[in-house]
């Protein structure tokens, strides 16, 4: 929605002082203030209800759930107030983070009363009462007075004639001793004051509108810490999901790999043992032992792969060594550069170190699988602002996208990686024009240990 005062821009830009009176914005804000007046009375009653209920029910403890839920209801009022602010004040206010009910009876009860967003909404409801009252009274009085002053020369004729102390008769108002507003000069002066008031009035209305706007933004919107908590909650959930997915993956690998192989080995050896005991078919027994032996060796290889996936032993020798090992295993030639300072710093932050390792592992896998690249580079350094920066560049065909799991399609791995990076407040950016080259950058802010 555009401000009506802004369009047409040329006229209002030149003469805002004159057009403000007829601009829809002024009247919308005036209407808003009048609307808030009855609402604020109801809201004040609601605020008092919370405290009264709490005072009455505090002895029952369990009964505190009722004022608690009523308090939570202030969020509902907040929704309405934000709607009104959007409609009448052209002020879009983000909703605060959703209320999350904790587990457990007492914690739920406690959380009801420490819900900051509900309390702020309640405070808003309380403060709108005097504000709406003042706004409507002052604005309406000024408006009516201005109109009255301008039209005074007309309506004063209907006033009854009064006798002044000096015995003269006058029609009109008396200001002080014997100062009668009935000469053309005086009436013109008053009309001028009326016009001035009328021109001033829109700004008075907008001033109060601005107060409401500030109050709404401050008390009905999300707080910085609230936003932070919501973001942390989301990244934590993603981290838990990813950890769970990783565990499942390991379980699958173990179940279908080594565990199944060992069952087969046990079966073959059991059969060979039976054959040897019977002494009937020694050739078959030898074949079985041979096969079991081969299976055992394959099991060892599989186990090694799985162990490497859980924690790469190469990381113990430092990030550079681990990344070199990764690069050596890649089907695409990869050049790795790690700033020496980072190597030592990351030694003290194993979580970040393994995050970097897995990011590079995943990105190089992507390069090998999708990019059709002839070569790739991995660079780990610090950006100008001191953030840890990992860049994986390839000269492949480009066109890489971050695709969310439900979106389907190419390279869903990037979305998962992005979530993992977000869990440490990091960021994943992909620059991959069609035709390449592709640069994927992972940045982790300075001083953010996981």
């Amino acid at each position: 929605m555009t401000h009506a005062a802004d369009s047409p821009p040329s006229r209002s830009a030149r003469l805002p002082f004159l057009t403000a009176l007829v601009s829809p914005r002024t009247w919308k804000e005036f209407g808003y203030q009048w609307l808030m007046l009855p609402l604020s009375v109801a809201a004040l009653a609601y605020v008092l209800l919370v405290f009264n209920l709490a005072a009455v029910l505090v002895w029952t403890v369990v009964g505190l759930f009722i004022p608690g839920i009523v308090l939570l209801g202030a969020r509902g009022w907040g929704v309405m107030y934000r709607g009104l602010a959007a409609q009448f004040l052209d002020s879009r206010i983000e909703a605060p983070a959703r209320y999350v009910r904790p587990k457990g009876f007492w914690r739920t009860l406690g959380a009801l009363f420490v819900d900051g967003d509900a309390w702020r909404a309640l405070l808003f409801m309380f403060l709108t009462y005097p504000l709406a009252l003042a706004a409507t009274i002052i604005n309406t009085t000024v408006f009516v007075s201005a109109l009255g002053a301008i039209t005074y020369p007309v309506w004063r004729n209907f006033l009854p004639a009064q006798e002044s102390a000096d015995g003269t008769w006058h029609k009109g108002s008396q200001w002080g001793d014997n100062y009668w507003l009935d000469t053309p000069g005086r009436m013109a002066l008053q009309a001028l004051i009326g016009v001035a008031l009328l021109l001033l009035w829109p700004w008075l209305v907008r001033g109060f509108g601005q107060l409401f706007r500030l109050l709404s933004t401050a008390l009905l919107g999300p707080t910085r810490s609230g936003e932070r908590v919501a973001a942390l909650r989301a990244t934590r959930a993603a981290a838990v999901r990813d950890a769970d997915a990783r565990l499942r993956g390991i379980e699958r690998d173990l179940h279908d790999g080594p565990q199944a192989r060992l069952v087969a080995v046990a079966m073959q050896l059991g059969e060979a043992k039976a054959q040897l005991a019977a002494g009937t078919d020694l050739d078959h027994a030898a074949a079985l032992v041979d096969s079991a032996h081969a299976s055992t060796k394959e099991t060892l290889i599989e186990l090694r792969e799985i162990v490497r996936g859980i924690h790469p032993p190469a990381l113990d020798a430092g990030l550079a060594v681990a990344l070199e090992t990764l690069a050596a295993r890649s089907s695409v030639p990869v050049r790795v550069t790690v700033a020496p300072a980072i190597e030592t710093e990351l030694g003290a932050e194993p979580q970040i170190q393994s995050l970097v390792y897995y990011s590079v592992a995943e990105l190089l896998t992507n390069v090998a699988k999708h990019a059709h690249a002839a070569s790739a580079t991995v660079a780990v350094d610090r950006s100008a602002s001191g953030d840890l920066r990992v860049r994986v560049t390839d000269d492949g065909k480009g066109g890489a996208l971050v695709v969310t799991p439900d979106g389907g399609g190419l390279r869903t791995g990037l979305a998962g990686l992005g979530r993992r990076v977000a869990a440490v407040d990091g960021e994943l950016t992909v620059d991959s024009p069609a035709g390449g080259p592709t640069v994927v950058t992972v940045t982790v802010p300075k001083g953010k240990p996981a």
Binding site: V263, A266, M267, G270, E271, S295
Partner: protein, 224 residues
């Protein structure tokens, strides 16, 4: 051990194990058909039965494609629903008490649930397979231990059993005969019978001659 040639249908998604199992069974003269997932298993068994071919026992893995959760179990339940007499041996890498309970909720005759590890003792495995094919109930000691673990918390009555009675009950639940129990526990058959009578008395079950019904009664009581 009785040498009966059986017609076996195997459901197992891992080729390594499927081939091993088929080789093992074929060498012992059994006729084997193997498939790789739950739906194929159901289709195969139904097709064979429709053609009048024998299916003496179905051996199936639990976790199979496409969802890798409990396809084998669902296939088994489906087959048992349409052919209640069909012997089914579940063959899995891990034990889920829930699966055992579901499977045993109906008629437990001709039901087996074994860990894949058991195939290492080939003869014992073959014996178990033959027993399931004959309509017995064969449960892995692990299954029994878990069921006991789960139920003993619920049923105070189980706690009243002596250690010896508990051992006997576990072996009974595995489908062992009195003679087998006496041999395994190095006690006389008379002692076994006394223990069983005492178990039944403590659990409030009527004594029955049949080994088989005895197992069922015990399992029912265990909440399986």
């Amino acid at each position: 051990m009785t040498k009966v040639e059986l017609s076996v249908v195997v459901g197992e998604d891992l080729a390594l194990l499927r081939d091993g199992l088929v080789a093992l069974l074929t060498r012992r003269g059994h006729e084997v058909v193997a498939v790789g997932d739950g739906q194929a298993l159901v289709d195969e068994v139904r097709a064979r039965l429709a053609k009048g071919l024998a299916v003496d026992v179905v051996v199936t893995d639990i976790r199979m494609p496409p969802s890798f959760t409990d396809e084998g179990l669902r296939a088994a339940l489906e087959l048992r629903a349409s052919h209640p007499e069909l012997p089914v041996l579940l063959f899995s890498q891990y034990i889920e008490t829930r699966y055992a309970s579901q499977l045993l909720a109906g008629d437990a005759r001709g039901i087996g649930y074994l860990l894949k590890d058991r195939v290492a003792d080939v003869d014992e495995f073959m014996d178990a397979l033959a027993r399931v094919a004959r309509g017995h109930t064969v449960l892995d000691p692990e299954v029994v231990a878990q069921l006991m673990g789960v139920t003993s918390g619920r049923h105070a009555t189980l706690a009243r059993l002596s250690d010896r009675e508990r051992e006997v009950l576990e072996l009974m639940a595995e489908g062992r005969s009195n003679k087998a129990i006496s041999e395994l526990l190095f006690i006389s058959t008379g002692t076994v019978e006394k223990n069983i009578a005492s178990i039944f008395a403590k659990l409030g079950l009527e004594v029955d001659d049949s080994d088989h019904r005895r197992v069922l009664a015990v399992l029912r009581y265990l909440g399986a």
